[in-house]
Amino acid sequence: MKKAIASGNFLRSKLFWAIVAELLILLVGFILRPDFLSIQLRTLSDGTTVLFGTPVDILNRASEITIIAMGMTLVIALGGTDISVGALVAVSGAIALKFLRWDVLVYNTPGDYTVQPFYLVILLPLLACTLMGLFNGALIGKLKIQPIIATLILMVGGRGIAQIVTDGKQFTTQYTPFKFIGNGSILGLPLPIIITLVVVLGVMLFVRRTSFGMFVESVGINPNASRVSGLKSGTIILIAYVLTGFLSGISGLIYASRISSNDSNNAGLGYEMDAILAVVIGGTSMTGGKFSLTGTVVGSLIIRTITTLVLYFGVVSEAIMAFKALIIAVVIVLQSEPVRNAISRRRDRIRTQMGGEARA
C-alpha cells in the first residue's frame, strides 16, 4: 500500500515526466533511423579506442551545461538565479589560454608547450571563477541585492574581463595535456563525461550527506523563518553562488580545451539560459524550495538530445531554433501540474473501473 502511494507520487512528479520526455525524444530518433542509438568502438590514429555514437555525443556535449546546472539547481532552490555563468565560462578559458601562451610575441606559434606550469593553467581559472562566484554570493547573500541584478554585473563585465586578459585576442594551443581535458578519453569514455560524473556525484554527496541540502530547501521555502530558527541563510546563499562560480570554471576549461583556444565572444554564450532551463525541466521550481539534482541531469540531457536530433536529421538551419522551442514547449506543458494531474487522475479512474469489474 505504502509502495503504491510512493509510485503514485513518482508518477505525478516532474522528474518522472522529464524521464518520459527524454525517452520519447530518443524513441522518435530511433524510429526515424535505428542507427541513431548505435554505439560502436573505433580505433583512432594514435591507437586509442573510443566509444563512437550519438548517445556518447549527447552525454559528452551535455557536460558543460550539466556541470553548471548542478550549482544552478542550488541557486534556484534558494529562490535565486545566476545569469553570469556563461561569462564565467569565457573568463575561465581566457585565463587558461593566457597562461598556456603567456607572451604571444615570443611564442608566436601555437605548439605542444605551455609557458606557465600546467597546474597554474588549471588552478588559476578555477580560482578566478570561484572568486567571481564569491562576489556574486556576497552581493546576494550578504548585501541582499536581487540575484538577477547582482549576477548581471558579471554577465556583462565577465566577457570584458576575458577580453582584457587575452588583450582581445584569440589564442590557440596544441598542448597535449590541455587538449586531453575536452578531447581525451579514458577506457573509451570521453573525459568530459567522466568529469561530469565526478561533479554530479560530488555535489549530490555534499548536498545529501551533509545537512546543506536541507538548509537550502529551508531557506528557499522561507528565508525569514529559517533565519529566525537559527540558520545563517546569508552564508548558505553565499556557498551556493561560490559553488556555481567554481563549476562554471570547470565548464570553461572543458569548452576551451575542446576548441584548443579561448573565444571570449562565444564561449558559454547562452549557457545561463540552458542551465536554468535544465533545472526547471528537471522539476525544481523557480520560486525556490525543493530541488532535484537528478532531475537537472535529465533536463540537461533533454536539451542536448534535442540539439543532437536536430543536427542528426538535418533540420534546415533557419528552422533549428523554432524546432527546439517547440519540443521544449511540449515537454514543459507535459510537466505542468494540471496536465500531470489530469493524466494520473485518468489512470486512477481506469484502475478503479477495472478493479470494480474484477470484483463484480
Partner: protein, 332 residues
C-alpha cells in the same frame, strides 16, 4: 568659475585646431573588437593612415549602434575632413548619414554596407567591401579542381557544408556562391548543410553529428576557417584523417588556417582580407587630390592558399599560392 573653465577649454580647442590646421583629420567609426579579423582590420587602417601622416580620430562602438551614431555626430561637430564608417547593423543609418552629407564631409564605407535603400538615399565618396558570393564560388571551384587533380573527378563525392550565422551577409553570400558553382559538378553532391554560427565550438559539434549521420563524407566546405578548425577535431575523434579522408576547405585565411594547412589537417583557405589600410589610403589620396570616385562597391584583391599551390580557384583563372611560403607575411 564654470564659465572661466569653459572659456579656457574653448580657447585650447581653437589653438589646437589652429595648430593642426593644414593636417587632414579622418574620423573612423568602427564596430568594436568582435574577432581577430576585426582587430586586424582596425590595426591595418589605423597603421596606414598614421603612415600617411594624417590625424586619425578613432571611435570603437563596442557593438552598439547608438555609440556609432554618437561618434558620427561627434565627427561632424569636430569638423573632421573625411569619415570612414563600418556599420554594426545594416539598417537605421539614414538620418545620421544624411547629417554627414549635410555637413559635406566625404564618407567612405568599409566592409559592412548599409541596406540598399540607404545606399540609394545618401551620398558617399567610395565603398569597399568583400565579395562573399565570389568567395563561395572560389571555395567550390578550388574543390572541383583539386578533386580533378587527385584523379577523383569521376567519383561520386559527398559534400557537407558548415554555414555561418543564419541570415548574416557572409553566410548567405558564400552559400549562394558555393551552390551556384557546385551545380556544374553533379559528382559533388551536398548531403548536409547546417549552421555552425561561425564558431569553432559549434563547427566541432555540428561536424560530430554529420559524422554520425553520414557514413561517407568526402568534402567539408566551411563558411569560415574557425568552423573548419573545430571540425578537424571531430574528424580526428571519429578516427578519420582530416585533409586526407575528408577534403577541408575554409574561408578567411588567418594564420591559424595556414598552420592547419601546413600540418596537413586542412586543404585550402580562400582569403577574405581584413587589410583595408592600403586601399583606403589610396582612395583618400585620390579624393584629396580632387579626383572623384563613384558609388560602385570595390572589392579588395584576395588570394587563396593551399599546401602545394598552383590550383585554379576562380573562373578567371587565378591560381593558389603555397601556404608555407606565405605564412611569414600573415599578421593575424
Amino acid at each position: 568659475m564654470k564659465k572661466l573653465l569653459s572659456l579656457i577649454v574653448a580657447l585650447m580647442m581653437v589653438l589646437g585646431i589652429a595648430a593642426s590646421a593644414g593636417a587632414i583629420t579622418i574620423g573612423f567609426s568602427q564596430i568594436g573588437q568582435e574577432s581577430d579579423w576585426r582587430t586586424a582590420n582596425t590595426d591595418s587602417v589605423l597603421a596606414a593612415v598614421e603612415a600617411a601622416g594624417w590625424e586619425m580620430v578613432y571611435s570603437d562602438a563596442q557593438q552598439k549602434q547608438e555609440n556609432q551614431v554618437q561618434a558620427l555626430r561627434n565627427f561632424i561637430s569636430q569638423g573632421v575632413d573625411y569619415i570612414l564608417f563600418t556599420g554594426v547593423v545594416s539598417t537605421g543609418w539614414d538620418e545620421v548619414l544624411k547629417e554627414v552629407n549635410e555637413a559635406e564631409i566625404p564618407l567612405i564605407l568599409l566592409d559592412r554596407m548599409p541596406e540598399q535603400s540607404t545606399l540609394d538615399a545618401i551620398d558617399y565618396a567610395a565603398a569597399f567591401g568583400g565579395d562573399f558570393v565570389e568567395e563561395g564560388r572560389r571555395m567550390a571551384y578550388w574543390t572541383a579542381n583539386y578533386v580533378e587533380k587527385i584523379g577523383k573527378a569521376d567519383e561520386e563525392l559527398n559534400v557537407v557544408i558548415l554555414e555561418g550565422t543564419t541570415g548574416a551577409d557572409a553566410a548567405t553570400g558564400r552559400q549562394e556562391g558555393i551552390m551556384e558553382v557546385l551545380a556544374n559538378y553533379p559528382n559533388l553532391k551536398v548531403i548536409a548543410s547546417q549552421t555552425g554560427n561561425f564558431t569553432r565550438a559549434e563547427g566541432q559539434a555540428v561536424m560530430e553529428s554529420f559524422l554520425k549521420a553520414h557514413d561517407k563524407i568526402d568534402i567539408l566546405l566551411a563558411h569560415n576557417d574557425d568552423m573548419a578548425l573545430g571540425a578537424i577535431e571531430s574528424i580526428k575523434a571519429a578516427g578519420k584523417d582530416p585533409g586526407e579522408d575528408i577534403i577541408i576547405v575554409g574561408c578567411d585565411a588567418p594564420k591559424t588556417a595556414f598552420d592547419a594547412i601546413i600540418a596537413g589537417d586542412m586543404n585550402a583557405t580562400i582569403e577574405c582580407t581584413p587589410l583595408y589600410g592600403p586601399f583606403v589610403v589610396a582612395a583618400l589620396e585620390k579624393l584629396i587630390a580632387g579626383e572623384a570616385m563613384d558609388k560602385t562597391l570595390i572589392h579588395p584583391e584576395e588570394g587563396a592558399f593551399d599546401a602545394e599551390g598552383g590550383i585554379v580557384y576562380s573562373a578567371d583563372g587565378r591560381v593558389t599560392e603555397k601556404a608555407a611560403d606565405k605564412i611569414g607575411e600573415r599578421l593575424y
